[in-house]
């Protein structure tokens, strides 16, 4: 499998509170307080690859850092550490501020969660889809119109809807506009940030099947971010599970869901409502996640909330270890490897 995207040791840290101005920093130096503000470790030392033609899922609860990671990958924000290599080129070397004008901008695109939010309310469907074509492909006039219409048809959007504004479109139609805009420039990697979260289940089916088809037609790789594990299971080849800024498990989607190795993944899988519940008592994950601010590098991020917490867990951070095609960051992952279907 050819590697398309190689993410290595990426971290992103944010200072808590507003950045100190020069005067405040001076005062701090004299008052003896720490010159640096505490930091939120939104993404902490994340590494993974996406192959050509693969669909990789990214799951995790809110606050796990997946939004931040996604924004770093799509070069909307800069990383604090690490490299993001697309093909041969390390994209992280160019600042996010100026990346909009970069020649590789079109290679990574994104479909947003709420197409109503991500399309300018004053833009018609046509304007929205035409924008990247104008800026990145320099198309104008007749060529532009033709391309927009081709893409719209490819996404199942009737041409007469192109003159409408987002608020005049249904949820499914808006989603199609968002997708059409993202694929218009034929990206190599498409990041989908919960693209069907706001849609009815019947519309979701159609959109997911559309995404499946487009992937083959255009030959893209997908990074599919979602909290809905049932959808991730259907669409993704591989899945990454994030918790508090770290990847805690990864592997083929089927394996991860049938036999999760990390306790957090186990709790996640156990919490998903199933149509056919066998009524078995499920593992329940209570409490709040640990603070992401200046976390102790020696304590497992899941410690305290994990049903299983030993002294080892609070003195040594578990590293992501390989088990064949799978990886898990838990000292006790082997124990779960042996189990067939898990219910606890």
């Amino acid at each position: 499998m050819t590697v398309l995207l190689d993410v290595a040791d990426v971290s992103k840290r944010f200072s808590v509170g507003s950045a100190l101005g020069p005067w405040a920093r001076l005062k701090r130096r004299f008052s003896g307080g720490p010159e640096q503000l505490p930091k939120v470790y939104a993404v902490d030392d994340v590494s993974f690859v996406i192959g050509k033609g693969e669909t990789v899922g990214l799951v995790g609860e809110s606050g796990c850092g997946k939004s931040t990671l996604v924004r770093a990958l799509t070069r909307l924000i800069d990383v604090s550490d690490g490299t993001i290599k697309l093909g041969d080129r390390d994209l992280s070397r160019k600042a996010a501020r100026v990346f909009a004008r970069d020649r590789d901008r079109a290679r990574i695109q994104m479909v947003f969660q709420d197409a109503g939010e991500s399309v300018n309310p004053r833009f018609t469907g046509f304007d929205a889809i035409a924008d990247p074509l104008r800026r990145l492909r320099k198309l104008r006039g007749r060529a532009l119109t033709e391309r927009v219409e081709t893409v719209a048809t490819q996404c199942g959007l009737p041409l007469q809807l192109l003159t409408r504004y987002p608020h005049q479109l249904s949820g499914g139609q808006r989603a199609r506009v968002g997708i059409a805009r993202a694929i218009a420039v034929e990206p190599e990697l498409l990041v989908l940030d919960e693209p069907t979260a706001a849609l009815d289940v019947s519309v979701q089916v159609v959109i997911l099947q559309l995404l499946q088809r487009l992937k083959k037609e255009i030959g893209m790789s997908y990074l599919f971010v979602s909290h809905d594990l049932s959808v991730v299971r259907l669409l993704c080849d591989r899945v990454l599970v994030m918790y508090l800024g770290k990847i805690v498990e990864s592997g083929p989607a089927k394996d991860v869901f049938e036999n999760p190795l990390h306790p957090y993944t186990q709790a996640l899988v156990a919490a998903v409502p199933r149509l056919h519940d066998d009524g078995v008592e499920r593992l329940r994950l209570d409490g709040e996640p640990r603070s992401p601010i200046d976390p102790d590098p020696n304590v497992c991020r899941f410690y305290g909330r994990c049903p299983r917490g030993t002294d080892l867990c609070k003195t040594t951070m578990p590293m992501l270890r390989h088990f064949g095609a799978r990886q898990a960051a838990c000292h006790f992952a082997e124990d779960y490897l042996a189990k067939p279907k898990t219910t606890t």
Binding site: R71, T74, L76, R97, F99, A100, R101, R105, A106, Q109, M110, F112, Q113, D114, E117, S118, V119, N120, P121, R122, F123, A128, D131, P132, R135, L136, Q160, L161, T163, R164, Y165, H167, Q168, L169, S170, G171, Q173, G178, R181, A182, A198, L199, D200
Partner: protein, 294 residues
Amino acid sequence: MTAITATPRPEGGSAALFKHARYVVAENPVTGFAFALFVLIVLAAVIGPSIVPYDPLASDTAQALKPPSAHHWFGTDQLGRDVFSRVVVATRLDFFIAVASVALVFLMGGLAGVAAGFFGGWTDRIVGRIADTIMAFPLFVLAMGIVAALGNTVQNIVLATAIVNFPLYARIARAEANIRREAGFVEAARLSGNSDWRILAFQILPNVFPLLVVQMSLTMGYAILNAAGLSFIGLGVRPPTPEWGIMVAEGAAFMVSGEWWNAFFPGAALMIAVFCFNLLGDGLRDMVDPRRRT
């Protein structure tokens, strides 16, 4: 998610706006009234000077201080000038002051505010300090000061009004730009290859404009009152130019002796105009704010 399937009515932006405008006006008769009044004022400003019965500057001391009659609908002032003609002709000047002030403050405050909200950092700090400095003064005193320092011409009155209203516009524009800075469509625009400046000009500004338009209508009323106030204390327009404020100022002295029409009619005109602009502001806000639509 819309519950009702969108009906096939492809509407362009202006067609939809017009239709909605008609709806708002129909729903709320007061807004309709304000619109009608506004049209009347504009008409008076544009064609008024051409159709008034008397020359507003022509004095005829023999006819001084005559009460309202068939010849002089609003009576005459102390120099025998027809009050009606002066009130109508003054509309043009006052309206011009209102429109010019508002246009100027929109450009200054709107652009500064949007830049401050979008870029943050030093731009935000500088604009913020300027706004704070202006707000530190009682606004009318500041207007007085500016006009007194620069001389009382119409241009300076317009400038003073614009400066005094700058913080308000900058603040509104800044708040809107700040909210939208993180909006999904701004990120999408970056992904589509738009530089920050393009986003500011083509994505943010069009969204900020409607809110400022509502404010502009209200500021028009304020601008006229400001000019009138300045004229009242002698820092505004100079006689014999007909302007509502100065007419009220000159006519006030005669109220005591019973010649009420000198001050009353220009005062009433002032009141009606400001009233109209304020109502217009309400109506515009209903039109512009989609959340208030049922």
